[in-house]
């Protein structure tokens, strides 16, 4: 069964409705299809992807360091593995922000400022990772 109009009936309202649905689908990323990006370099999209790549690398690093920590004690490995939740949640946040970011940039008229706390949080995460790795290496070899 299709939800289209019966033959011989007025197809106008159905066409209008399907056109509306199509338009709704096209707007799924939150940007009007006719909007012209102010910058053809798609800076906002590239930056969002850069964040996603970074969090993916953070996740891979956590798994690597967890392997090193896991050689010391399974309890520490379990505690450390909980850290994998952080990049996963961050990735979700990145994807949530992505739509807003692209929309704001394409519509323009708004100056986008970097949120310093995200950058600071990322730096802290990297330092924690390097610190845990350093401790694991030293304990393994000196202990």
């Amino acid at each position: 069964m299709t939800d289209g109009p019966l033959p011989g009936k007025d197809r106008g309202p159905w066409l209008r409705a399907s056109g509306f649905r199509r338009q709704q689908r096209a707007r799924i990323i939150g940007v009007a299809p006719t909007a012209v990006p102010p910058d053809e370099g798609l800076q906002a999209e590239r930056t969002s992807l850069s964040w996603a790549r970074t969090w993916a690398v953070v996740g891979a690093n956590i798994i690597l360091v967890a392997k090193l920590v896991g050689e010391l004690s399974w309890k520490w490995a379990a505690v450390f593995s909980l850290l994998t939740v952080v990049p996963l949640l961050a990735l979700l946040q990145v994807q949530r922000q992505h739509e807003n970011r692209v929309g704001r940039f394409v519509r323009a008229g708004e100056i986008q400022q970097t949120q310093a706390r995200y950058n600071a949080g990322l730096v802290v995460m990297v330092i924690v990772l390097a610190g845990c790795g350093l401790v694991a290496v030293l304990v393994q070899n000196l202990g």
């Binding site: 910058d39 370099g41 800076q43 906002a44 590239r46 930056t47 850069s50 964040w51 790549r53 970074t54 690398v57 953070v58 891979a60 690093n61 690597l64 360091v65 392997k67 090193l68 050689e71 946040q93 990145v94 922000q97 970011r101 704001r104 940039f105 708004e110 100056i111 986008q112 400022q113 970097t114 949120q115 310093a116 706390r117 995200y118 950058n119 600071a120 990322l122 730096v123 990297v126 330092i127 990772l129 390097a130 610190g131 790795g133 350093l134 694991a136 290496v137 030293l138 393994q140 070899n141």
Partner: protein, 127 residues
């Protein structure tokens, strides 16, 4: 992450001056992220060295090298954050952009690490 100006915590250096072109702000953000990924690459290298190269490289070289790489990774992350703030400050005050001093740290660290690694592998092969 970016947001429309005004909201969220911001370092003192970035509270005055005029808002820079969003494209330049985003480019600065991507550069910061590239530095962070480089730092994470060093961490991954150190961990791989310690976890997977146990038989090939003697411990006396492997452990200090892994420690140096991990310290370098942490330093690089801090330097990247500092550089991001300095570039943002320069753009907000229409000043020339600062030189990438972290590159010297990175190049020296990687070059010394690579030479030590080559010596270690060769000594392991011919001993």
């Amino acid at each position: 992450m970016t947001d429309s100006g005004g909201s969220g915590w911001r370092p003192r250096a970035l509270r005055d001056g005029h808002e820079p072109d969003p494209r330049f702000t985003l480019a600065n953000e991507r550069t910061f992220l590239a530095w962070i990924r480089t730092s994470l690459g060093l961490t991954a290298g150190a961990v791989a060295l310690e976890a997977f190269a146990g038989d090939e490289i003697p411990e006396i070289i492997r452990t200090p090298l892994a420690c140096i790489l991990l310290v370098l990774a942490a330093l690089l992350a801090i330097v990247a954050f500092r550089r991001w703030i300095r570039i943002e400050f320069a753009m907000r005050h229409s000043q020339p952009l600062p030189m990438p001093q972290a590159s010297i740290l990175l190049v020296l660290g990687i070059a010394i690490g690579a030479v030590v690694l080559i010596v270690a592998i060769l000594s392991g092969t011919f001993s």
